[in-house]
Each structure stands twice: as structure tokens, then as C-alpha cells.
Assembly symmetry: none
Homo-oligomer: 192 residues x 4
DNA sequence: GATGAATGAGTGTTCATTCAT
DNA sequence: GATGAATGAACACTCATTCAT
């Protein structure tokens, strides 16, 4: 089933990342030991050290790979006019990015305490802040700022909370996106 | 600084809880060792075990103490008519409960991966589900259901994300509550 | 069931011994903690220390009480003529002593490694040697000496091994005694 | 004294077993800590865990190695006719197996309480029962059954009790074997 | 006659990491 | 491109024991 020993040659690095992400997301970073990762891959722990200098570096490498879509989105956003349409499109694209890397975002969300003081954590937080900066207007009322925070986090929360409930993933994504869009629209509507 | 050895007598249990919550919230559950807790209190690890059977039980005791307001709120909610006004009042009360136990909620949010397979985690999840059940109508559209989830989680996210930003806590609370209330109101508005 | 708190007053020492013997025999000395004993008695560990200076002393006290029959038997034996009849009678009496203190002997047998370097262990071994000295003739052939050792140990082994097998305890005791008696008789029969 | 660091390479597993058996037999299983074993070998505790998953597994590995002769004997016995001669030969071979693994059997005998709830203990008990089944006739009188039990246990007891007494080991073995053989012969002699 | 609170020394076990081969 | 063997530091937890009250 899936991949002979021969075929595995050369893609070990990738396989480590895959297994690590799976386990990190499932059990958390701290509770996932290198022994466990190695065992699943049927290699020795020492082999992991051939490909990565430390455990933390495995996580860092995941982050580098998986947050590229987010970086691209931020980059794109910065080049656009700060209109409501742009913001709506950002949310739209974000919801797709989220789906493409669900386990990674899940991991980031559920392991904040751990990830916070890992270099890698700062980076993620930075990205979130930059995302937020694309959405909110610094001069807006606090309520409007909260709406923006809400729009962003609702997308995470939605994906995570709705995970074990009900229907079609695409329907869910759309519903979540709809609510987030409403929030951002409201936040950008001039009040009398 | 604060409290002679004499005065400390008899309140060790409480002091363990305080320090534990502080460290758990700051560094996470796994990364906080009993040695660390003990050292801060200037007692031995064994002393902790006089007061709590396991590390997990320290956490459980925190939960028991700190989620009582939430339990009371759920109980109260169950006795009320399922009107929009009730739901708004639930959110209102919830925002106050949240403030009274911020570090605990922060901990719960940032350590989900860890806490998931602990009793504590399950209990917490149960409570959240029961809270949600007070707010949402099972027959509502998915979008409305998402609005309810959003209303609830936005309160958490708001508290957590706004922590290191700007102004008066009470202003923040009100802004967050306003957004959540909007969401719940929207979710309970009949659509044409 | 059996004994109000009031009635228990004053016999705590005895109750500690009873529970300790039970647990020591069941799980071994090392694996039985004072906490366990205390819990079963519904007193605190510290209470045990009111009655006994150390854990070892609990064991010592048991031994003192329970090996009195053995001491008396040895004393009696020393006053008798070294005839075959005496030896047979010693075995007979020993088999009865054994039954009266089965858990204690079981404990002694199954915890030799532990008990060996406890003061109390020396004593038990001494007693066994003195028993043996009543049965064997120093000038006898090695085979006859082995018969004596066998006679003695078969009684222990028999009681322990037959525990979870078959019928009436008194029948068992008699069968064991018969074999032991045969051995001692054989050992004391002059060879051509 | 015996073996440079270089030479030690590669036989650590064996050395752990040797030292463990020695200490287990000397002080008992519970009272022998992994620290002690490690110190004697001049390695760290963690090194032990490279070779064995748990403390119990060290014991299990000893048993596997040391009770192979016993297993072979049982297997051989099952293939033979149930005659007196076979039984005598079983005892004969058993006495030799016993000598080859004296410390292990001594350990098993003196740590019964501890070992009882370990896999090792159950396996050992099974083997003893199967040995016994080769020797005894289910329809025999209880006295004859006791003779069989006695024959078996006398061999153990003999080895253990005669340890610190007198002469040539081979003489002792023969004397013990003689007594055991008598018992089994007696047990298999039809009574009038 | 006993408890509440604590200690010091220890246990078995796990972890990320290293390095010669 | 990987392994076998090991380490050092830590961890949660348990134990027998003490002592002021």
C-alpha cells in the first residue's frame, strides 16, 4: 500500500514533514516525540537529525512551507486599494487558504501556548497582525475594530468548531465566509 | 514580599492554585513542571502531592472553581424562555463571567491540543456546547448557526486578541459584546 | 458491619497488625505502603507512627506474636528425647502451627528476599535452623539430611502449592503430614 | 578488572542481564533499582532503556533465556510414555537444569510475592504446573499427589537450603535427586 | 490517641540530542 | 543517507518519616 522502500528514497524529508504535521495537529507539539515520528516512518530517530537540526526546525520548516499562501495573500493585499471589495476578496481568498492547510492552522490555533515562544510562533502572530492591518482602519471605532478581529477569528473558529458537526465542507466554508463578509462590510460602513 | 511563613500556613492549597494558573497560562500546561510550581512557592514537590493527587487534578480544581459562573449561567439560561432577549442577556452575562476568569479562559484556548484528552478539556467542551445550545436554533440555516458560533467565539477571541492592544478594558468588553449581540440578533431575525 | 468507631478505640494497634499482615501476605512487604494500610483503617499515616516506630517494626511485631507457637514447639522439642517418635510429634505439631498462622508463613516464604536483611528475617531463618536441628542427626548421610530438609519444606510448599487446588483443608494437612512423616522416618531408619 | 571500554561495546545487553540477575537474586527485584544496575555497569539509566523497554522486561528477558531448558524438558516429557522411568528421568534432567540456572530459581523462589503479578511470575507458575502434570496422576490419592509436589519442590528447597551448608555440589545434587526419586517412585507404586 | 502539613530521597520512565561508524 | 548506542536532564509521582498541634 502506497510506496515501496525504493520509492521512498530521497523523499524522506518530505515524509518527515507529513508525519510530523499529522502528529503535531493530532496530539500537540509537546506530546509528539521524535521517537513517535521516527517509528511511524520506520526509520531511527537519528535519521531525523540528518534532515533537521532540531525538533523545532521541523516545525519551522512546516511553517515556512505552509504559510506561503498566507504571505502571498498579504503581499497581494498590500498592492490593492483599501476598498471594501478588496477586503471581501481577502477574506474569500483566506477561506480558501485555510482549507488548503487545515491541519496546520488547527495546529497553530491549538498550540498557541507552546508555539508562542518558539521563533516560529512570533512569525505566525506577525502574519495575523498584518492580515488584520489589511482589514481594519486604525481610525475606526473600537466596535468596528472588534468586527474585523471577529471576522478573521470567526473563520478559524468556524473551521475548528464545525469540524465534528454536520454537512458538506464547501457549504460550511461558504456560510463562514458569509458571516465574516457581513462583519467586514459592517465595519466598513460609515455610521451616521 | 507579601506574607510571612506564618501567614502562609493553611492557605497552601490556594497558593498552589494561584501559581499553577499563572504558570499554566503563561507557559502552557506541559511546559510547566511541578518542580517549577513548587519552587515558586518555596515548598517541595511532595507538598503539592499532599494537596493534589496529580498534576491533572490541580488543573481540574482550577476548572471547578473558575467555571462555576459559567455553570450558573447555563443553569439560569435553561430556565428562561428561548427569546432573543434571553440570548442577549446570556451573552451579556457571559462577557462578565469571562472577565472574572480571563487567565483561565486564555489557558483553555491556548492549550486545546493538550487539554483535549484531559477530563478538564472534555468538561470544558461540554459546557461550550451547552452554551451554544442556548443560543442556536437547531432548525436554523447553517449561516445562522455559524453566526451563533461566531458570537460565542468572538467573545473569547476578542478578549485574547485585544489583550495587548489599546484602551480601557470595560470599553473593550462593551465593544465585543456589541458585536456578539449583533450576530445573535441577526441569527434570530426571520429572513424574508 | 463489625465494630463501631467507639468500639475501635484502644485496639488500633491490633487492627494495624491485622491489616498489615493481610496486605503484606497479599502483595508483599515492599509493595504495601503505609498509606495503603492507613487508608484501609481509615486513619492517617501519622497514626501508625504513634503505635509503631517504623514500618519494619510493624513486621517485627507480627513476627513476635506469630512465631511464639514455633518457639514453644522448639522449646518443647529440646526437652524431649531425640527419638523418632519425638520427631514425628514435632512435625505433627508443626503442621498445626502452620495452619494457625497461614498468612504469616505464606508471607515469610514469599518475601524471603525482602525479609532476609531485615532483623526479623534472621530470626526466622534461625528458627528454621533450630527446627531442622531437632530433626536431623549431624552424623547422618547427606541423603538423610536432605530428607529432613525435605520433610520440613514440604510442609510449607504443600500448604502454599495446594492452596488453590482441590478439597478439604484437614485432608490436605493430613496428606502433607503423612509424606513428611515418611521422610523423617526414612531418615531415621538405620541402613544396612 | 576484566574488559576495557572498547571490548564492552556490543555486549551491553548481555551485561545488563548479568548484573540485573545478580542484583535481583541478591537483594530482590523491588529493592534493586535501575540506578544501581546502571552504576555497576558504568552507564546511565537511560542506556538501560535503550536495550529494554521497562524494568520488568529485563526480568522477562532473563526468564526467556533461563527457562528454555525447562521448556525443552517439558516438551521432551510430553513425548514420552507416562512410565515411572520417564518420571525419574524428568527429575534427573530437572536437577541438572536447576543447577544451570540456580540464581534465577533462587530469585523466583524468594520473590514470589513480587513476581506473582508480573507476567514472568505467571509464566513460571504455568511451567511448574506443566511439570507437575508430567509427574502426577490425576486419579491418584491425595497423599500421592502431595508426594509429587514434594518431589518437585524438594529439589528447589534442597538447592536453596543446602546452599550455605557443607560439601560438594554434585554430591548434594545427587542426594536431593535421590530423595525426589524416592518420592516419585513411592507415588507411582500401586498400594495393596 | 491522633491529625495536618510537609520533607528528602528516591523511583521508573521519557526526551531531545549527539556521534562514531 | 542513515543507524546503533548512548547521554544528561528532566519529569510525574511515591515513600517512609517527622513534628507541631
Amino acid at each position: 500500500m502506497g510506496g515501496s522502500r525504493q520509492q521512498r528514497r530521497g523523499d524522506t524529508r518530505q515524509r518527515i514533514q507529513d508525519v510530523a504535521l499529522e502528529l503535531f495537529a493530532e496530539q500537540g507539539y509537546e506530546k509528539t516525540s521524535l521517537r513517535e515520528i521516527a517509528e511511524r516512518l520506520e526509520v531511527t530517530k537519528a535519521a531525523l537529525y540528518y534532515h533537521f537540526k532540531t525538533k523545532e526546525e521541523i516545525l519551522a520548516s512546516l511553517q515556512e512551507d505552509l504559510s506561503r499562501p498566507m504571505d502571498e495573500l498579504i503581499e497581494w493585499g498590500k498592492g490593492q486599494p483599501r476598498t471594501l471589495e478588496t477586503k471581501q476578496e481577502i477574506l474569500n481568498r483566506y477561506s480558501e487558504a485555510l482549507i488548503g492547510a487545515t491541519p496546520f492552522f488547527r495546529f497553530m490555533h491549538e498550540n498557541q501556548a507552546t508555539v508562542r515562544e518558539l521563533r516560529t510562533g512570533e512569525d505566525f502572530k506577525d502574519r495575523m497582525i498584518r492580515m488584520l492591518d489589511l482589514l481594519r482602519e486604525p481610525e475606526a471605532t473600537m466596535t468596528d475594530q472588534v468586527r474585523c478581529v471577529s471576522a478573521l477569528f470567526s473563520m478559524h473558529a468556524g473551521m475548528l468548531a464545525l469540524k465534528d458537526i454536520e454537512g458538506d465542507p464547501e457549504d460550511k466554508r461558504k456560510a463562514i465566509l458569509e458571516v465574516a463578509t457581513e462583519l467586514i462590510t459592517q465595519a466598513n460602513t460609515p455610521k451616521p
